[in-house]
């Protein structure tokens, strides 16, 4: 502490320690936050096709096709320890081969300050709804749910499933590929 530079060094290092402490208390202030919200999901149009997935193998597999409506107000999820949300739509269903299949159909990044009140109609999926066999045609119970990661300034990356789901069934007949 006897020269200008040693005092400056001590001040900066102490400041960094204080900043780490403040960040930790910021994390503590939001650690018990549940980050829950409700999502209203509906399907507009549901088709199933039987086509080869050339990226995997040449045998034909079931490819689901759907359009969906989604309403969810995620603004309450943001606080001073939430930088962005990673929102994704999951389809879950059971087949004879697998007790639980999970396919991510759509996702969206919502950064802090952006409009987080989702209200979308007739949305197409971002990703193909491939089954790893023929489990989609006539499947009576496919459940859509909305989940999100909350990306924090400090702390754990939480994964939350929103309340509210929509179940639908795929038609019993394949849709002709050319007819779309």
């Amino acid at each position: 502490m006897h020269t200008f530079l040693t005092r400056g060094n001590a001040l900066l290092t102490f400041t960094l320690s204080v900043l780490a402490g403040l960040t930790f208390f910021c994390f503590l202030s939001t650690a018990l936050n549940a980050y829950s919200a409700t999502a209203n999901i509906d399907t507009v149009k549901v088709l199933v096709k039987n086509v080869p997935d050339y990226s995997a193998q040449k045998e034909k597999q079931d490819l689901g096709y759907l359009m969906f409506d989604l309403q969810a107000d995620l603004n309450p999820l943001f606080n001073w320890n939430a930088k962005q949300l990673f929102v994704f739509l999951i389809a879950e269903y059971e087949t004879t081969d697998n007790k639980l299949n999970q396919v991510v159909l759509w996702d969206k990044i919502i950064q802090r300050g952006e409009n987080a009140n989702l209200d979308m109609k007739n949305m197409n999926t971002n990703y193909y709804f491939w089954d790893d066999g023929n489990g989609l045609r006539g499947n009576p119970n496919v459940t859509l749910t909305l989940s999100w990661n909350v990306v924090p300034n400090a702390g754990t990356l939480s994964i939350v499933r929103g309340s509210g789901s929509h179940s639908f069934s795929f038609p019993n007949e394949y849709t002709n590929v050319r007819a779309q």
Partner: protein, 105 residues
């Protein structure tokens, strides 16, 4: 010399400067945390802390007169160093080396 001014603090001044800088930084950090929590903006916490660091730097980095009130009173250097001190240290060294050996045996 135009720039011949002292830049050091005395010991108590150093202690005071360290204590002041800690107090200022912690107080601004706590205030910033509260402001950030109210407005739900952690960037405001960091800004307020930065202001506190600037103030602490202005207050405690330069050797202000308040840190120089109790200078050490150094004894003035002797002028007759050359003649007397040459012979005495040699005898003392010899004596000190020989005594421990006798004690150990």
């Amino acid at each position: 010399m135009a720039f011949n001014f002292a830049t050091h603090m005395d010991y108590e001044g150093q202690h005071l400067a360290e204590k002041l800088s800690h107090i200022i930084v912690v107080v601004f950090g706590v205030i910033g945390w509260i402001i950030g929590y109210i407005n739900q903006q952690f960037s405001q916490t960091i800004l307020v802390l930065g202001v506190g660091v600037l103030i602490a730097a202005i207050v405690t980095l330069p050797p202000w007169p308040m840190y120089r009130r109790k200078p050490l009173n150094w004894r003035k250097p002797r002028k007759e160093v050359t003649v007397d001190n040459t012979s005495k240290p040699e005898k003392e060294v010899v004596a000190s080396v020989s005594k421990p050996k006798k004690k150990n045996k």
